[in-house]
């Protein structure tokens, strides 16, 4: 699942130009940026958030992403991707149908029916805390008790959440949504919340995949969803120190676009960056695709400001590293909305790179591919991104081959000419592919590229072209849309991730995939599932592994339950094989039951005591983590 191609990358040339311009602006606070005046617009035109305050105007109510973008089958029974936003938009994908039929035993005749639209009348009625409501009105903060607004903030993107939207209704949703526009607004809201004993749940981009946004069913207090989307200004850019101070509600696409206008970027690109927010990243300890150059969120933040029931937590300076006891940032990062609201973050920025180059390597099998990635990590020469897909994902690439000749000509087609000459001897049912992205100045990129390809060659890897690489990265972000198509045809699925030491990568991948297949069989799933993985990040001491898992649920009476049991089993298997509970999705409520074993009793006690001190009345009552 990848960033919207339209935004950060295609804007590159423009960014480069802007950088030249911004070079003339001298360091210090950028003009037009105000520090204290809450309502004043920060930067000019481009500062308007891409995602509207009324999310329903742009986003699906029952699926992933924009209303205008989705996979459907046209009258000829061919799959196509609608809309204009993405490179794949408007294209017909003739192979997708057969892939779905073959992989899942799905059939076009067997369609499920989502409800046609959000059934607002089914929404649980809003509880009202009169005192809180009056006070919110009094301080003039924008709010809504509209059912649609509330439902849009009642969920993230876990399978069962989307399933519930399509076929039923949540038992509990926020009772009221508030939109603060700056740090001070948040301070006031948190005060009022404590005063009136309501439950406060911060809402960023709503891309959570850990049940983090789900409202506890038995919460009796009024639940207030604090939507940060109207706090999305870049407050200042400090070119001397290469930092920027930004409000937490900004989405990834807006952040990169706006920084790009000054010739900068954060380089933080989680696959959800079109919608996920800076505050959400901090709250979940997010990880971006290009972390090899820019670092993960914990490497990127320099300062965090968070409003808690006990007051504001912040540091007194922005020193790049401190020895001042345990880093309080690390209580905040990963706190998943249980301690307070992140309002402003100082984050590192980098000049937009001069040159980007994609690449790809084909390996005879997954084992060789992993060995290569390990060697790349050993030599600490990983490109901005390096991802290794297993054979099933490689095959899947073929399914998304558009009709028209373009960069999307399938992997296999693209490889055909290689097959004849180079790839003889590679088993198409074994081979796997790594996609690469290099960034930097041109000369260094080319040098770097050579180094990586030389290593790959030692492991039997053959360079398979830039196009294949670029296509790989483009396809990842539309995959999120694919789940909605699957759900129309009895196919449900999800992805999940882990991090694991190098020596266990292969064992873990094999065992988890096999466990999924087994569990499906044992639970009466009628068709073999799709159970596939890829290595998405490399570290000195290990890697991040991402699994995709989907199956045809025809014949099952409670598919979501079956799905959850299998995901549970898969997670057990991950843990048994030395994998972590999560590399970047977080714990939320979905993985809570394992946290104790993951961090020990004492560890959990430490977290609990922080929570008890900071938020004794459980105002931030989303019940994540603990």
């Amino acid at each position: 699942m990848e960033a919207a191609q339209g935004s950060p990358v295609s804007a590159l040339s423009q960014q480069r130009r802007l950088r030249v311009i911004s070079g003339h602006l001298q360091a210090g606070a950028a003009p037009g940026i105000s520090l204290n005046e809450c309502k004043a617009p920060a930067a000019p035109s481009s500062a308007a958030p891409s995602i509207p305050k009324k999310r329903q105007e742009a986003l699906k109510w029952n699926g992933w992403g924009y209303n205008d973008s989705k996979f459907t089958f046209n009258k000829k029974g061919q799959a196509e991707f609608t809309g204009k936003r993405y490179k794949l938009s408007g294209m017909v994908l003739p192979a997708l149908r057969e892939w779905m039929e073959k992989t899942f035993g799905a059939s076009l005749d067997q369609k499920t029916t989502s409800r046609a639209s959000l059934n607002v009348s089914d929404a649980p009625p809003a509880l009202v805390n009169e005192g809180f409501l009056q006070d919110v009105k009094a301080i003039g903060i924008s709010y809504s008790q509209d059912a649609e607004d509330r439902i849009f903030r009642a969920h993230g993107h876990c399978l069962h959440e989307i399933f519930t939207l399509r076929e039923g209704m949540f038992k509990r949703i926020p009772d009221i949504v508030v939109w603060p526009t700056c740090h001070e607004d948040v301070v006031k809201i948190v005060d009022l919340s404590c005063k009136h004993d309501v439950c406060l749940i911060p809402f960023g981009g709503g891309t959570s995949v850990s049940n983090a946004l789900e409202c506890p069913e038995d919460e009796r207090r009024v639940i207030v969803s604090l939507d940060t989307s109207q706090m999305s200004r870049i407050l200042w850019i400090d070119e001397k120190n290469l930092t920027a101070h930004i409000e937490a509600g900004i989405t990834g696409q807006d952040l990169e676009r706006q920084l790009g206008e000054s010739g900068y970027c954060t380089g933080h690109e989680p696959d959800s960056m079109e919608f996920s927010t800076l505050g959400g990243w901090v709250a979940t300890r997010a990880s971006g695709m290009k972390k090899n150059i820019y670092g993960n969120i914990e490497d990127l933040v320099v300062h965090i400001k968070m409003v808690t029931p006990k007051g504001i937590i912040k540091k007194s300076c922005q020193g790049p590293r401190m020895s001042t006891g345990p880093d309080i940032h690390h209580f905040i990062m990963g706190s998943e909305g249980t301690l307070g609201v992140v309002t402003e973050v100082t984050i590192k920025i980098r000049p937009v790179p001069e040159y980007q180059k994609y690449g790809s390597v084909v390996f005879p099998n997954f084992e060789r591919g992993v060995a290569c990635l390990r060697e790349v990590a050993r030599q600490r020469c990983a490109p901005a991104s390096i991802r290794l897909m297993d054979n099933a994902q490689f095959q899947f690439g073929h399914a998304l081959k558009p009709q028209v000749a373009s960069i999307f000509t399938s992997f296999l087609d693209g490889l055909k000419k290689f097959y004849i000459t180079k790839f003889k001897g590679f088993d198409p049912n074994q081979l796997c592919v790594a996609t690469l992205l290099f960034e930097g100045d041109r000369e260094k990129v080319l040098q770097h590229e050579k180094q990586v390809y030389d290593i790959a060659a030692k492991f039997g890897g053959l360079a398979a072209g830039e196009d294949n690489g670029q296509r790989g990265y483009m396809l990842t972000f539309v995959i999120a849309y694919l789940r909605d198509l699957g759900m129309d045809y009895y196919v449900i699925g999800e992805s999940f991730e882990t991090s694991v030491p190098w020596d266990r990568v292969l064992d873990l991948c094999r065992n988890v995939k096999e466990r999924i297949v087994r569990e499906c069989k044992e639970r009466g799933v009628q068709f073999p599932p799709l159970s596939t993985c890829r290595v998405t990040q490399t570290y000195d001491a290990g890697a991040c592994v991402y699994f995709y898992f989907a199956f045809n649920y025809r014949g099952l009476s409670d598919p979501v339950h079956v799905y959850e049991e299998i995901e549970f089993a898969a997670r057990e298997e991950i843990l048994a094989n030395g994998g972590s509970l999560s590399h970047h999705h977080g714990v939320g409520k979905l993985r809570k039951q394992w946290l104790k074993d993951s961090i020990s009793d004492v560890g959990l006690g430490m977290l609990r005591s922080v929570k008890n001190f900071v938020d004794p009345n459980n105002t931030f009552g989303n019940r994540n983590l603990l």
Binding site: D503, R504, R510, A576, G578
Partner: protein, 668 residues
Amino acid sequence: MAASMGSVYSQKEFRSKKREVFEDILEERRQSSDLRYAMKCYTPVIYRNLTPCTPSGLKTSVLQSLELQYVIRQISSESGESCESIQEQAAEILDEMGHNLRMGAIRLFAMSLSKIFKRLFQKVCVNEEGIQRLTQAIQEHPVVLLPSHRSYIDFLMMSYVLYSYDLALPVIAAGMDFMGMKIVGELLRMSGAFYMRRSFRGNQLYWAVFAEYVKTLIRNGYAPVEFFVEGQRSRTCKTLSPKFGLLNIAMEPFFKGEVFDTYIVPISINYERVLEESLYAYELLGVPKPKESTSGLIKARRILNENFGSIHIYFGQPISLRSLASGIINRTQYNLKPRHLPQRPPEDVQSFVRDVAYQVELNQIANMVLSPGVLVATILLQNLPGMDFNVLVEKTLWLKDLIEAFGGFLEWPDNLSASRVVRSSIDLHSNIFTLVDGHVTLLEHKHTGLLTEEIVFEQAVSLLMCAFYRNQMINVCVRPALVVLACEMVQSSIKEEIFRSFSFLRSVFSKEFIFFPGSEDKDFDEGCFMLTKCDIIHTTPSEIMITDKGTIAAFFLSKMFQPFLEGYKLAYTYLVGEVTNAFTEKQYISGVRSFISRLIVSGTSKCYEALSSDMQKNILSSFVQLGVLKRMKSVSEATFCLEKKMVKETAEKLGLQMFTEKLPSARL
């Protein structure tokens, strides 16, 4: 008679009880050319995720493994020897051990074994369903084959059977004494067997090479790995208490996530007559067995003219290690250490391995096919020196029903009259039984005059051989029999007291018979259930009484176990009465043996079985476990001494009238 039996049977014998179909794999061998059989197209099914590799590739990957390299470096730093030289030693060990699969050898092997087996055995019966299950299992996950071990024939037979069914030949962890047998040893090795030294305790390098070799085989699913949980051939035909070392190693790849699962396949191999029967008897009596050597085997050619009856091989249900361990073993405990570092198995793993080992042996026991000769031997032992043939037939039929009710897996030819069946059994065992004038006797036991040590020894040989066959079913009877014994010993019908006595007997005999660790309650219930089912006892919630109808069966069961009870009592008497200083195992065995043989010569005892070193070794470790003896480690050999205080204390605490009463040495 034996051959005629073969022709009476159809090729497929239908087992009504367990609905198992056995196939005689020799049947076809007798009808077509062995050469053609040996040259047949052999394309065994293999593990689906097998990474193909050659035996030498296998060796290299063992030698280069992090595990072994770590140990080599460690030994080097401790001993000052260079890594290279240790590495060389490791390579030598590996050569000595390493199997070397060669098709030519397999074919030669297949042909010669066909010839030999056809001469020795009437039939080799294999349960077909078991083979089908195994075929499936081999493709799914790495497989560990765990046959019972009664004879050297076991692993020849295993390889032969797997070859016959087009299955991958197993790699066998076999004892080293085979290395003495040049030709056979080499042949065996080329057909898959690999060797370990019988005793390599303390040899860190050997152990590391060995362990790594087994694990490598399992990790890449190269071939089924085969070894014996019993550790060695049982000389008494009773299942030996399991050994855990190899099983531990074999399971490690699963615990550490290196394989998704491992199948464990218990296999019961039963011989109607065991090749080594007399050798074993001599060995148990302290006459050293001849060292295995090829010439010895060739001398044993006369054996080839004898008839050893049928063999039944039952391939049990493959057990998924993953499902066994699920919810019991927390595999995350391996997460915090590099997996290649040698690590003592954590406690939960140790007890898990122990439980699995016992489970495997209990499965082997349950699926062991018993022949009528087993019943005959058991009955005869209770009627020494001999009995009327017709009574024997009658009794045999009676016992057959009892054993079947106890779950014994009897192979009884329904199409023959009972007397024919008993007759052929006696004929088959004509080296221990004779039938003269309608009277059956155990050889050497018809002695009337004065006994001498020599005569006692000869009698002991035939008696131990006879007991050998009884022992094949002793574990089937042990639970009900101990309940009966307990009833007799407490002289009361109070269930609780009987249970206490049962538990005590069970722990005294824990080395003698196979009990699942910690399952006293279940064993007791099971014993009671079987007895109730057969109308031998009557139970109320608080009482157990032997029924009138059941007295005969109860007496029979009790008598069946008398030799054990008496043997333990004699040993106790010896220890308390005759021993003052600390002693070694060796000293003990020769001491107790001459003590008992004196008692037999003097007519005070008839407990020939107590002359067996196997029983005496069991007694030692059982007494150590009970706290009656203390085991002290010294430099060379462990010594034992009596815990005089403990004797009375534990005895009284546990209510052991059997040990506390003053035993008059004359009447036991």
